[in-house]
């Protein structure tokens, strides 16, 4: 990454949620992005509240951090909680290019997102398993047609990013997160936070960090008296 002076770098954090049918490779894409590995699949969802990864845009001197929420299987019977969508800034809707039904499901998830997610959420519709092109069931022009249709319904307001990738080979994965990063309201969040106001960045200000205060409490316990 580019050498930038810490004092001039600008930073913003965003919540990104994963959606899509089971077994399309949602976790694999994230693992490729976060750890650049493929084969250890679900293992590290264990215990992790969410995964995080930063990307830097040298040209704007900006670093953004994704807080990535996996479905943890709750998507399987359509049992995702409102908490999952809350304050989400971006959603990665994944389908498997070798499975037509997974593409249909991805469209259902986009519908669900429009119902549940905050307005202005950045949506990326991603076809995984591009390494299995010989078994392809979903063609690029179908995706294009669907997007056209969505865009006209939405008065062109919300653009859906489309892309294909292979979590297995890594091809196209970073590019997806880069496009999402560029579509996010980074300037707004940075400006708002520099004015001390919260505006859409992953979480809002004004809360209490339970774990952090606990340590201070432990330290204070030695010095306080009643």
């Amino acid at each position: 990454m580019a050498e930038v002076s810490p004092t001039t770098n600008r930073f913003a954090q965003f919540k990104l949620v994963l959606l899509g049918e089971s077994a399309v490779g949602k976790s694999s894409i994230v693992h490729r992005f976060v750890k650049n590995t493929f084969d250890d699949l679900r293992e590290s969802t264990i215990g992790a509240a969410f995964l995080t990864q930063t990307i830097t845009f040298p040209e704007t001197n900006t670093t953004i951090k994704f807080e990535i929420w996996d479905t943890a299987g709750q998507e399987r019977y359509k049992s995702l909680a409102p908490m999952y969508y809350r304050n989400a800034n971006a959603a990665l809707c994944v389908y498997d290019i070798t499975s037509r039904s997974s593409f249909n499901k991805a469209q259902d998830w986009i519908k669900e997102l429009k119902r549940q997610a905050p307005e202005g959420i950045v949506i990326a519709l991603v076809g995984n398993k591009s390494d299995l092109a010989e078994d392809r069931q979903v063609e690029a022009d179908e995706v294009e047609e669907y997007i056209q249709q969505q865009t006209s319904e939405e008065d062109g307001n919300s653009r859906i990013i489309t892309s294909e990738c292979s979590a297995k080979s890594g091809e196209g994965v970073l590019e997806i997160f880069n496009s999402i990063g560029r579509a996010l309201p980074v300037e707004e969040v940075i400006n708002a936070s520099s004015r001390g106001r919260s505006a859409g960045g992953a979480r809002q200000q004004g809360g209490i960090d339970l774990a952090r205060a606990r340590r201070q409490q432990a330290a204070a316990a030695n010095s306080s008296c009643c």
Partner: protein, 670 residues
């Protein structure tokens, strides 16, 4: 799964799932099924089936699944949270209808009032998160420790609450705002020297270690004395201070509260003060128990629990252990079935009734929830979005026998839009007509006070002494200390306008938990349904309880552990989890030095950053796991988590200190 026993320690998470050799289960494609919600449950068997995603059931699911128990967790509603859910206004409308049609056992008399038409009362249902059982969390409490230990806090956001108002002599008094220490709570007002001395004497007594022999003896001698007499006779305290101590600080509900219980409750408040800042309690953003249960469900899902909403258990054969569901699926349940009382399947109705009718008294909680178009900032501390108002016994024109307790939350807590607030009031008054009258009366008092405050001339009513500069803040803006002074003339006030109401909801909830929580902290087979055996179930079915009327989360973890112990034989390993990937997941920041600047702004402030978050200039002030990362801070964070998770001593320490009041009572009576 082998049966559990105390002597055989089950393998830890790490042992059972070594990081490199764990192979994920193959999740088959769901080809050809157009609507995923109509899917069959794709499991042959599970160890434990839980019905209902309420707070206790959700904690239980997470605790079990982190110990490797295969849990199937279903709910017959379309939403999470069951009887402890956080609902939108549209959901609440439907909920009221369901209650009145008898579809939601243990709820009754639901009414919802939405004034005006679509043009005069415009609102977006989705903007509201209305808790069916709103609660507050003490800063030293078992729930708080568990949220950290389980890491569920990372899904949540917490905000401070420091304003406790007590209504007496037809007037509101704001007692605790802007206190900077425990001592301040008492001295920061115009009291006579002698009253101050008496208060300090009592404060010292309260904060004395419970093992102290003098304290033990005094409490023991007064174990049957009510707290009012105790404070009058032993500490020479007078009515205003007693009211404040007992009903506001202690959140007791009746004058007959016994000394050990009340003392423990007052202590609970005082030891919680100054833990995270100058406030004793917190509320979770976007909703209370409804939000926390979602967090625990997510944690359970991460650990492997299967979730399916909109699903009923329609049959269970205790011999073959086969459970049948309304979606047509059948799953073998190897161990227990846990059933929330609002999810009771028809075929178990009579067994349940039999258990309750014969031996367990039922308690009523009556609630009135009002959404108003006012932010009620007058009642809240600067930078806060919540407050508590307490109407002690006999303070209302209805001559209320029990306290009416009210949680006020405005748009800043995410439960309603900005400029509005929700008043959650409740009482444990057993007579339902009286209960409703008490709640309406309390509402009227609050409404009158609010209208009077905003309509009369603020300048005329206040003098210089009502303002005080807070030396802790850099800004020199005077902070309004006594915003309720104008309440002095409350009796004479005739409002010129009416308070605009968005929505008003009333209902009655039943519970088998005594308001004093004795049958939680001293649960036996004869007083708590969790410990009862269900006839003809081969001991495989456990019924849970509706939440109690208690305003805080006290007792909830104790109940969850009771159920956990009944399933696994012991609660020793309740959330005894080694989160193996901690470092991995926090240390993955590629270019963290580049963002040092922002992270240091966020973390340097320490405790002061908590209370002065508005002056913090980066998103570093964000809550929980949303850590703004620089490598150093990330490492710090993970090490403190380790402390929270691994250091048993520290946990015990905290547990000893916070003393859920029931266990305290237990100690006292030894």
């Amino acid at each position: 799964m082998p049966p559990f026993s105390r002597v055989e320690r089950r393998e830890s998470m790490a042992e059972r799932r070594p990081s490199m050799s764990y192979t994920p289960p193959v999740i088959p494609h769901l080809e050809g099924l157009e609507k995923p919600q109509q899917n069959h449950i794709d499991l042959d068997q599970a160890d434990v089936l839980i019905l209902g995603t309420g707070l206790i059931e959700s904690m239980l699911a997470a605790a079990l699944s982190w110990q490797g128990v295969q849990v199937l967790h279903i709910d017959n509603k379309s939403y999470y949270g069951d009887a402890t859910s956080t609902l939108t206004i549209d959901q609440l409308k439907k909920w009221c209808i369901d209650v009145n049609q008898g579809k939601l056992p243990n709820f009754q008399d639901a009414q919802i009032y939405i004034p005006g038409g679509k043009s005069t009362n415009k609102f977006k249902s989705k903007d509201y998160g209305i808790d069916l059982t709103p609660k507050i969390m003490f800063c030293k409490s078992d729930l708080l420790s568990l949220l950290i230990k389980s890491r569920v806090y990372k899904y949540l956001e917490f905000q401070s609450l420091s304003n406790f108002h007590v209504f007496e002599n037809d007037d509101f008094n704001q007692k605790i705002t802007n206190s900077t220490s425990k001592e301040d709570i008492f001295t920061d007002k115009s009291l006579s020297l002698i009253t101050k001395r008496n208060l300090m004497k009592f404060l010292k007594f309260i904060l004395t270690d419970n093992k102290d022999s003098d304290k033990k003896r005094l409490i023991f001698e007064n174990s049957k004395t009510n707290i009012i007499d105790f404070l009058t006779n032993n500490f020479n305290l007078e009515s205003p201070q007693i009211n404040e101590l007992v009903y506001s600080i202690g959140l007791c509900i009746k004058p007959t509260t016994k000394t050990p219980e009340a003392v423990a409750k007052i202590k609970r408040f005082l030891v919680s003060f100054d833990v995270y800042g100058n406030f004793p309690v917190m509320v979770s953003k976007y909703g209370g128990p409804g939000e926390i249960s979602q967090g625990f469900c997510r944690s359970a899902a991460v650990a492997g629990t299967t979730y399916k909403l909109n699903t009923n258990l329609i049959d269970y054969d205790p011999n073959s252990k086969i459970a049948s569901f309304n979606d047509g699926s059948k799953v073998k349940i190897n161990e227990k079935i846990i059933i929330s009382p609002t999810q009771l399947p028809k075929f178990l109705q009579s067994s349940y009734n039999q258990l309750v009718d014969n031996s367990l008294p039922t308690y009523n909680i009556t609630r009135l929830i009002t959404v108003v178009r006012r932010d009620c900032k007058e009642w809240m501390s600067n930078q806060e979005s919540s407050a508590i108002v307490v109407f002690p016994p006999l303070s209302l024109p209805t001559q209320n026998n029990q306290s009416v307790q009210v949680i006020i939350q405005n748009g800043g807590t995410g439960v309603c839009p900005n400029g509005q607030s929700i008043w959650f009031s409740h009482t444990s008054e057993p007579d339902l007509n009286r209960a409703k009258a008490d709640l309406e009366s309390a509402f009227e008092k609050m409404e009158a006070s609010l209208l009077r405050e905003s309509s009369s001339n603020l300048e005329n009513g206040l003098d210089e002494q009502d303002f005080r500069l807070n030396p802790n803040r850099l800004s020199s803006t005077p902070i309004l200390v006594n915003s309720f002074k104008l309440g002095e003339q409350l009796q004479n006030f005739v409002p010129k306008e009416k308070l605009e109401i968005v929505c008003k909801v009333g209902y009655v909830q039943k519970t088998l938990i005594n308001p004093d929580l004795t049958n939680v902290f001293q649960a036996t087979e004869s007083n708590n349904i969790i410990l009862k055996s269900i006839p003809d179930s081969n001991n495989n079915i456990i019924f849970t309880n509706m939440l109690s009327s208690e305003l805080s989360y006290d007792g909830i973890i104790t109940e969850t552990k009771l159920i956990y112990s009944k399933i696994t034989g012991s609660d020793e390993d309740f959330f005894d989890v080694d989160f193996e990937d901690e470092e991995e997941f926090d240390n993955n920041n590629g270019d963290s030095s580049a963002i040092d600047d922002s992270s240091s702004t966020g973390t340097n402030g320490g405790a002061s950053a908590i209370t002065q978050s508005k002056s913090t200039t980066s998103i570093g002030g964000i809550v929980g796991g949303g850590v703004v990362a620089g490598d150093e801070n990330v490492i710090e964070d993970s090490s403190e988590d380790d402390m929270a998770i691994d250091d048993d001593d520290e946990d015990h320490d905290v547990n000893d200190n916070h003393e859920p009041f029931g266990t305290d009572v237990d100690n006292m009576e030894l």
